[in-house]
């Protein structure tokens, strides 16, 4: 599973989403199958149709944008 965090450098909420996701992935049973990366190129955001950051994309599908989802919400899209 590929998890992409969309967020420009300098965006603090994007950074905190990334930390949340990484912590949750570590706790998951199948955590080692999940790759987490941060995408900072705005053209890439646009290609996902995301205009407000942070965004959370799982295997190419936009799950959240413009908001930092709660840990439960993150867990539910990762499992």
């Amino acid at each position: 599973m590929l998890v992409e965090i969309l967020g420009s450098s300098g965006c603090s909420t994007c950074e905190s989403l990334k930390q949340d996701v990484e912590e949750i992935v570590e706790d998951l049973d199948k955590g080692e199958d999940i790759e987490v990366t941060k995408v900072e190129d705005p053209a890439k955001f646009a290609s996902y149709g995301v205009m407000s950051t942070p965004g959370l994309v799982v295997d190419g599908n936009v799950e959240f944008k413009g908001t930092v989802p709660s840990r439960e919400e993150i867990r539910s899209v990762l499992s």
Binding site: G7, S8, S9, G10, C11, S12, T13, C14, D41, P42, A43, F45, A46, S47, Y48, G49, V50, M51, S52, T53, G55, V57, N61, V62, E63, F64, K65, G66, T67
Partner: protein
């Protein structure tokens, strides 16, 4: 109230004279600006939860001419407080067919006019200046957007595809309470990030307030070149606009003309090197130059007008 806290604190230290009055200014202004920021940013963040970008964009798409430009400018004022979020918005607008001129208006006003800054300016200089700052910034944005469109610079936006994630709602249906608490959390984070700039800015302001001789400004910073020089000086300086207002406030107190101070302030906010580095990801050279040029010219013009009027 803030004045009282500051005076009491200084009273405790037993400091008097220049150092005492500088420190008092520092504590007073830092408290005042921080509280105003927290209130205004919370309020605006809360309102914004009802205005997801998709809604704004669809609204702008149907608008033509002046009304659309003005609305785009007003949106720039309540836009997020970080240029890192303005650029994805810009691409989203362009990608979904908002007229190019309006997106430029939005992109110009967004860093230059900031809702919290309006209130801090009001506190520092009174309502005439606050309103002049607001309308002046809008004017530069509308004029710049119109001009860049007329010049046909749209082709210098990078090529990109706007994707289909667009139909995912960016804000789930939330109740009042969670919107409010989210907005307040947001505001705390933003204020926390800006706070160091405020502390330094007010510190410089306090030093100017206590130590800079008035003759210095009379001698060095007046005359017709002052406005363009102040604007140019703002380019290499990178800080938050909240950090510049207290410096401007002290300089005006020492006799610097208001227009020159406002020009400096706007230039620091809107013409910064890191901002243009970010823009380079989405615009080609020609467009960045025209964009920067129109903002620079607008700020210089506004500075002259303010100096003539106030």
């Amino acid at each position: 109230m803030f004045k009282y806290v500051a005076v009491q604190l200084i009273g405790l230290t037993g400091l008097t004279g220049r150092l005492g009055s500088s420190l008092e200014f520092w504590i007073y202004d830092t408290l005042k600006i921080t509280v105003i920021m927290l209130l205004v940013i919370s309020a605006v963040s809360f309102l914004r939860t009802y205005l997801p970008p998709e809604k704004i964009r669809d609204f702008l798409k149907g608008k033509r001419a002046f009304v659309g430009y003005l609305l785009a400018g007003l949106l720039g004022i309540i836009s997020p407080f970080c240029s890192c979020s303005t650029i994805p918005l810009f691409l989203g607008f362009v990608g979904a067919g908002v007229p190019f001129g309006m997106t430029i208006t939005f992109l110009t006003v967004s860093p230059m006019v900031n809702s919290a800054a309006i209130f801090v300016l009001f506190g520092a200089f009174g309502w005439e200046i606050a309103i002049a700052y607001l309308t002046g910034g809008l004017l530069i944005g509308v004029a710049g957007g119109t001009l860049l469109k007329k010049l046909g610079l749209e082709k210098y936006v990078i090529d990109f595809d706007f994707g289909s994630g667009d139909n995912v709602p960016s804000e789930a249906n939330k109740d009042f309470k969670s919107r409010a608490s989210e907005a307040f959390d947001d505001a705390k984070k933003i204020v926390g990030r800006i706070f160091p700039y405020v502390l330094v800015g007010v510190g410089i302001g306090a030093a100017v307030h206590g130590y800079m001789p008035e003759q210095f400004i009379r001698g060095a910073l007046q005359g017709s070149l002052a406005v363009p020089v102040a604007t140019a000086l703002g380019i290499p300086i990178y800080t938050n606009i909240m950090g510049v207002i207290p410096v401007a406030e002290s300089l005006v107190g020492k006799g610097l003309p208001v227009g020159t101070s406002i020009a400096f302030m706007m230039s620091v906010a809107a013409l910064s090197v890191p901002q243009f580095v970010l823009l380079k990801q989405v615009m080609k050279k020609q467009l960045i130059t025209a964009y920067g040029g129109s903002i620079g010219a607008g700020i210089v013009g506004l500075g002259f007008i303010f100096n003539a009027v106030f």
